[in-house]
């Protein structure tokens, strides 16, 4: 027997109460870990310091003329440029089969995103040479059971063909490995030329223009030059580095960081009150026992440590289970998503934040009852006067 044994025994003296407390902390930490990991996943793609993006100044969904790409490609400080269009694609079912399909210019796309496109040369060449070719992130192919060489019909919820059909046939020519953080996570790449020739509207328009600068030190100068070049035109641009672009892309889904802060903040404010009140009540119920321990020779500081330890144990137990629950939930979500969209894995950084918050929660909720136990006089505790 030791102090930790006593803490554990005291904590579980009312199993139902403790279990309910742990469940409430578990839920709060699971929300924290899931939302944090989600936010982390959509904002932490691999980025290159020299990779920038030009897009319409109005917003992300406004297209730009193809001529912008030509001009940007030739500007000083630009090493390579490509262009991308949002296809609005889905496979079979618009809800379950949604996937981020991008119409790209294959050769320039491979120049600008070379580090995340390490695929066999045969597959790369097939993608370059076949107009109906399609490359997909490996998890997407695995989810739908697609094989290289297979013909895959993809629908668009934005575009239609000249005959009114919204479905395009593509041939899967290769898969892209997507380690964590890959910019190609969940991606489906199709030929811009094939897309551009078959759509019924919006021809010769492009979504945005990713490009590499010759050096990160010229980024500001290049972005200023590009935006100045198209200022006062019908299609003004906004040029930003890739990390900023990713964040603004993610912001289309809502202000995730704000949602995380509000949801987690509300959950923890509630937990703080519940756990704090319950801990105070639990120690108050044990006033006599605290007095007995002190009469046996347990010092006030040792009693304080034991009460604090109890609330820390409760906090870390709930937090640990919450983290485990979040890891399991994220795995389930990731599997259900079949690799579409960013891979929402458990963010290791949340462990550190979780531990810090659990420590704070344990200390804050345990401090008042611990101080009360510390100050308690034996004669008052035992009613011996």
């Amino acid at each position: 027997m030791n102090d930790i044994f006593l803490m554990r025994k005291n904590l579980f003296r009312k199993p139902l109460r403790t279990t309910l407390l742990i469940v409430s902390i578990f839920i709060a930490f699971m929300i924290l870990a899931v939302t944090f990991s989600f936010n982390n996943a959509i904002s932490n793609f691999n980025t290159l310091p020299t990779r920038m993006v030009s897009l319409s100044k109005i917003n992300f969904t406004e297209s730009l003329p193809m001529a912008h790409f030509e001009r940007i490609s030739q500007m000083e400080g630009v090493a390579a440029a490509t262009h991308m269009n949002w296809f609005g694609g889905y496979y079979q079912d618009p809800q379950r089969g949604f996937m981020p399909v991008f119409a790209v210019d294959p050769e320039t796309y491979f120049q600008v995103y070379s580090e995340d496109l390490q695929i066999p040369a045969a597959q790369r060449d097939a993608f370059f040479n076949e107009r109906t070719a399609m490359l997909v992130a490996e998890p997407v192919a695995q989810r739908w059971g697609w094989r290289v060489g297979q013909r895959v019909p993809l629908n668009s919820n934005i575009f239609s063909q000249a005959d009114g059909r919204r479905v395009w046939d593509f041939v899967l020519v290769g898969t892209i490995p997507t380690p964590p953080g890959s910019s190609q996570s969940g991606s489906v790449l199709i030929h811009y030329d094939y897309f551009n020739e078959t759509i019924s509207f919006g021809r010769d328009r492009i979504g945005w223009i990713p490009f590499l600068t010759t050096s990160a030190s010229v980024n500001d100068r290049v972005s200023d030059a590009i935006d100045a070049r198209f200022a006062n035109s019908a299609d003004e641009t906004s040029t930003q580095d890739e990390a900023t672009f990713n964040k603004s892309f993610a912001a289309q889904l809502g202000n995730i960081a704000l949602v995380v802060t509000l949801v987690v903040g509300a959950a923890f404010a509630a937990i703080l009150l519940i756990v704090g009140t319950t801990m105070a009540l639990a120690v108050r119920e044990r006033t006599r026992e605290v007095g007995v321990m002190k009469s046996l020779g347990f010092s006030s500081s040792r009693v304080l440590r034991m009460v604090l330890g109890e609330s820390l144990l409760l906090s870390f137990l709930g937090a640990g289970l919450g983290m485990l629950g979040a890891a399991g939930l994220l795995t389930l979500m990731s599997n259900a998503g079949g690799g579409q969209g960013p891979p929402i894995g458990f963010a290791p950084a949340v462990l550190g934040w979780g531990a810090l918050i659990a420590l704070g929660l344990g200390l804050v909720t345990g401090l008042a009852p611990a101080m009360a136990a510390y100050r308690l006089r034996i004669v008052d505790a035992l009613g011996r006067r």
Binding site: R13, L296, R384
Partner: protein, 229 residues
């Protein structure tokens, strides 16, 4: 026998609202090592306050309290706590056992304050439980035992760290006569065979007969003739 406890001109009072209640005014007394003293007196006479002062759970306003030649009134809170752990065992009317712990674990509690190894602690617990005749109830929790058995566990807890002084506050107040006599018999054994000095506060004249002598306390004063005896 030499004095184990010596109180000299001890003063103690409480403030209740605006009223100052004097419990002891220059109380002087001594108790020899190995004595078994019963302290009787009406409610409010200061019996429990005296136990609190002797056990270092409360402080005198003035005066000296010596234990084995050491002035405990001069000890700070931490020193007093350590002194109490080493020298005093408490036995309460309502046992005050930890309901979440077994009998053996309850008895082991004071030993957590020592440097004894777990094996030595277990051995001491077994010995203490044997002394009170409860070696077969070691794994039972308080709620699984009778009042008399719980008080025996409390006695085992009080003696396990081998203190010189046992302070008993109405140790049989919650027990029937037969069980009370068994408990008091155990205290007699501890006093006679193990040399423990016992001070027992009681309202029960029959219980007091188990002590070597009885002191009557009234309005904070002992009868002079009894103190002189």
């Amino acid at each position: 026998m030499p004095d184990l406890i010596r109180l000299t001109d001890v003063e103690k009072g409480y403030t209740r609202g605006k009223e100052k209640i004097v419990i002891f005014d220059k109380l002087t007394m001594h108790i020899e090592a190995g004595d078994f003293v019963a302290i009787m007196g009406p409610s409010g006479s200061g019996k429990t306050t005296l136990l609190n002062l002797l056990g270092g759970t409360d402080k005198a306003d003035k005066g000296a309290i010596e234990f084995d030649g050491k002035h405990i009134e001069k000890l700070n809170e931490g020193q007093l706590t350590a002194w109490r752990a080493a020298n005093v065992g408490f036995i309460f009317q309502f046992y005050n056992l930890m309901p979440i712990l077994t009998a053996a674990q309850n008895v082991e509690l004071p030993l957590l304050l020592t440097r004894l190894s777990p094996a030595k602690r277990r051995a001491n617990v077994a010995t203490a439980l044997k002394v009170v005749g409860l070696e077969d109830r070691a794994r039972h929790r308080p709620r699984e035992m009778s009042g008399g058995q719980q008080q025996r566990v409390a006695i085992a807890r009080a003696i396990v760290s081998d203190p010189k002084l046992l302070l008993c506050d109405e140790p049989t107040g919650d027990l029937d006569r037969a069980t009370a006599d068994e408990i008091l018999g155990t205290l007699q054994v501890l006093n006679r065979d193990l040399g423990k000095t016992i001070i027992m506060v009681t309202h029960d004249a029959q219980a007091a007969r188990f002590a070597k002598r009885t002191l009557h306390l009234d309005k904070g004063r002992f009868e002079a003739a009894e103190l002189a005896a």
